[in-house]
Symmetry: C2
Subunit: 222 residues, 2 copies
């Protein structure tokens, strides 16, 4: 077992991939493959090949590619939340915590050696490139009931609570942080691929400053 375990809803897999060696290889290789060739071009057959096993084996762990992506993205948000909780212990003001949260959303991730089968840096790039695809479907309502988006919602709540500590009268904490988290992802994507949609020429610090200003200016009492 791992020193650290990120819990992901049991509805997000057929058979828990964290419990077997093959399962971990599926996670590790599908992160790699999806980041490299893009979600649309990945098939369970290709994953089977990459893990030196078969398509059928992958199906034993995940019902389909969409569920696998949802698993990985949930894992990422869950892991980010743990990271934030750890770092928040050292910080004393809600404002500092929010600033640090924005940094964690945008700065590249180092690998966590406690979890050798997941490369957090690659996973972060995968999330930047694919995350809205897990909810932009006609199945969203059914999947929402299955808990497909729990970790994302929890993260928004957590940050929203910090905002209310700064200004208890702020009316839009959930909207603000779903916007900020989403903007953190898309600004990273835009600086790389559609630079005219951002003002941060490949400079993560500028993205952080933009988001931090936007967040704090929105919350502030006036």
């Amino acid at each position: 077992m791992n020193a650290l375990n990120i819990s992901v809803s049991a509805k997000l897999y057929n058979k828990n991939p964290e419990e077997t060696d093959l399962g971990k290889r599926i996670l590790s290789k599908s992160i790699e493959l999806m980041e490299e060739m893009g979600y649309e071009h990945v098939t369970f057959k290709k994953i089977g090949l990459a893990i030196e096993s078969t398509e059928a084996s992958v199906y034993r762990y995940f019902q389909n590619k969409h569920q696998l992506l949802a698993y990985l993205i949930n894992w990422y948000w869950g892991w980010l939340e743990v990271k934030m909780a750890q770092e928040f212990m050292m910080l004393n003001s809600a404002e500092d915590k929010l600033k640090r949260a924005v940094e964690l959303l945008v700065l590249p991730m180092d690998e966590d050696e406690r979890i050798p089968h997941i490369d957090e840096g690659t996973l972060q790039r995968l999330v930047v490139a694919e995350y809205p695809k897990i909810y932009l479907t006609k199945e969203v309502d059914a999947e929402n009931e299955e808990g497909y988006f729990l970790s994302y919602k929890r993260l928004c709540d957590t940050l929203g609570i910090l905002a209310l500590q700064i200004n208890p009268d702020y009316k839009y904490p959930h909207s603000l942080f779903s916007t900020v988290i989403s903007a953190a992802q898309s600004q990273q994507f835009f600086t790389e691929h559609l630079p005219r949609l951002s003002d941060a020429a490949n400079d993560r610090r500028a993205i952080i400053e933009f988001l931090t200003e936007m967040t704090l200016n929105s919350i502030q009492k006036r």
Copy 2:
């Protein structure tokens, strides 16, 4: 010919659908079908059936489903820009223009009778549900060079210029408006499907207030 024509880059179609009756039926029915059953579940075969023609006919106008979606979404942003330009003529301050722009992004659209083959209200709902899918692909760089995202970029520019009229020192006009436009879409989606990610219980006015505050507070000199 139409009284009003929204121009869409010629790279977004094989054969211009605005020029023939069949082409217009393709546009009209694919908006309907995609909004109704979701992008993933639409096929050219189904569109062919819906327009009482064949799969092959649809392929004569669009290379594939992705290009068709890109066409429709570009058409939407192009049309919104025209709408905004019309309304801005009546308004005298940059702030009023920005406020109105946010409203146009969020309020439901009435049909424009000058363009009978496009139902703008349905198209708007389609854009809310699908727009990031046109750039979240591995082909984004190639498609960007083909002009797949021009109308979106132009819209962000236009609004960014208004922001600079309010505060010429504001450093992030492009980032801000790509964020605001994107948030306008996703907040509409969240209030309907993932309400815990917003604070606007099915109330478009609340979304507008949230976005307007966020925008103006970000720009303001302080």
